[in-house]
């Protein structure tokens, strides 16, 4: 396990460094937006990673509800936490990019609103997990995750109409149309690097959660074997 971790970590480090170089140095400067556009290489991969993680959380939650497998729950909480981090990156880099380029911090288009909503939902998911006093916290959290994820299509649909009522800046006008291949390459490299990084952190968190589960198991077994000296609740 340790060796796999080291290899993965080195691979991730390599990818991230290379992607950093590509994004900040090697890729050509965008014509209209200038250097600021380079945030794009962090913004988009973060968004894709976050969404993928939340998708995995959704799947893990459903599996947990069906099978009550502790591994599914460990995966659910790991992807939720790491997903929230990446989602925060998206929500911070977005305005940082938009302000100098389009003059506005925020706008209610479908993507932004869905991202914000996902962020809110999963923060509430994490808070629920922390504040739950039930012995069945994973069940309740899994139920919330199902509700939360099902909500996202609705936001998207709602925003499609909402958007036409408000003027929207073109989001990916740059690289989408006749993009310099080096830009696409930089984007893909960063995508790969972020995925690797996310996978690494999720894996670490997953193992931490499994260790915690095992520890609880052991405590429970110990409690079984000897009478508890403390007075019960």
């Amino acid at each position: 396990m340790r060796r796999t971790f080291v290899i993965l970590a080195l691979l991730t480090l390599g990818l991230l460094s290379y992607a950093l170089y590509e994004g900040l140095v090697a890729a050509p400067t965008e014509q209209t937006m200038g250097e600021v556009q380079r945030i794009f290489y962090y913004h988009v991969p973060s968004a894709v990673t976050a969404f993928t993680l939340f998708l995995i959380n959704f799947a893990a939650s459903i599996i947990y509800l069906a099978r009550r497998s502790p591994r599914a729950d460990a995966l659910a909480v790991s992807t939720a936490e790491v997903g929230v981090v990446f989602c925060t990156v998206v929500l911070v880099t977005g305005p940082l990019w938009a302000r100098p380029v389009w003059g506005i911090w925020w706008t209610w288009d479908a993507r932004l609103t869905s991202t914000l909503l996902l962020w809110l939902i999963y923060i509430s998911y994490l808070i629920l997990r922390r504040y739950s006093t039930s012995g069945q916290t994973p069940v309740i959290a899994a139920v919330l995750a199902v509700f939360g994820f099902l909500d996202v299509p609705f936001v998207y649909m709602a925003n499609r109409l909402f958007r036409t009522q408000h003027p929207q800046p073109v989001y990916f006008g740059g690289p989408g149309s006749g993009a310099d291949p080096r830009m696409t390459f930089a984007l893909l490299m960063n995508m790969a690097a972020f995925f690797a990084f996310a996978a690494l952190v999720v894996w670490l968190r997953f193992r931490l959660e499994r260790a915690r589960q095992d520890f609880e198991e052991t405590q429970a077994l110990e409690a079984l074997l000897q009478p508890d000296a403390r007075s019960p609740r």
Partner: protein, 224 residues
């Protein structure tokens, strides 16, 4: 007894209890009135502007009143742990969900019926579109809030800071429905905008989430 019979028995019991504990209703009504007044102070537009923002203000006010009501109705089941008596019986979990949701719907509808005329008065509102459409939106929107709200209130029973937890987990998920109900109401009041699209969205939202609630309520009720 069938699901329907147990649901109506539970609903009758809830309505009777609400009626008897009149102090709860009275304080709720007063709270609703306060909300309307405070909002009217905070947002004091001209008659023309008010039409455009009234939809948003009204539904946010209803949302807050609904959350207080939702917490109330489940609190009663926790006194003396009466909920355990239900859980130990063979009565189906969904009967409890439906009866609570319908009871909450009635409760919140009463609050809305009180608050809406007050809003009309304070904001000098007159709707440009047909008024019956407002009722349609109100029904769909209230159900959207109440169905999820009842479910999440049951979930938040097993958390610390129960009263805070409910809005915390309910609001994010209700955002699309809120958007729809506000836009639909504004569309009716101003006579412009795609009223039909928002109503369809609300209907789909209601159907999808009511189904999910019915599928998962048993799990939530019997979680310790």
């Amino acid at each position: 007894m069938s699901l329907g019979e147990i649901t109506s028995v539970s609903l009758a019991k809830d309505l009777r209890l609400e009626w008897r504990a009149k102090d709860a209703i009275n304080s709720m009504l007063f709270f609703a009135l306060l909300v309307v007044v405070i909002f009217s102070f905070s947002f004091d537009p001209t008659a023309e502007e008010s039409r455009h923002i009234a939809g948003g203000i009204v539904w946010v006010a209803f949302l807050f009143a609904a959350v207080v009501a939702l917490n109330q109705t489940w609190a009663r089941e926790l006194r003396n742990q009466v909920l355990d008596a239900y859980r130990v019986s063979p009565a189906p979990a969904n009967a409890l969900f439906i009866s609570k949701a319908v009871g909450n719907f009635i409760f919140v509808a009463v609050l809305e019926a009180l608050m809406a005329p007050l809003f009309m008065v304070f904001y000098n509102l007159r709707s440009i579109g047909p008024a019956y459409e407002l009722v349609v939106v109100a029904i769909l929107a209230t159900w959207a809030l109440v169905a999820n709200g009842t479910f999440f209130a049951a979930m938040s029973i097993r958390t610390r800071s129960r009263e805070v937890m409910l809005p915390l987990i309910l609001f994010p998920i209700s955002i699309p429905a809120l958007l729809a109900m506000v836009s639909a109401t504004t569309a009716i009041l101003t006579g412009e905008g795609a009223y039909r699209f928002w109503v369809v969205l609300l209907v789909v939202y209601d159907v999808v989430f009511t189904t999910v609630c019915l599928l998962l309520f048993e799990t939530v009720l019997h979680a310790e």
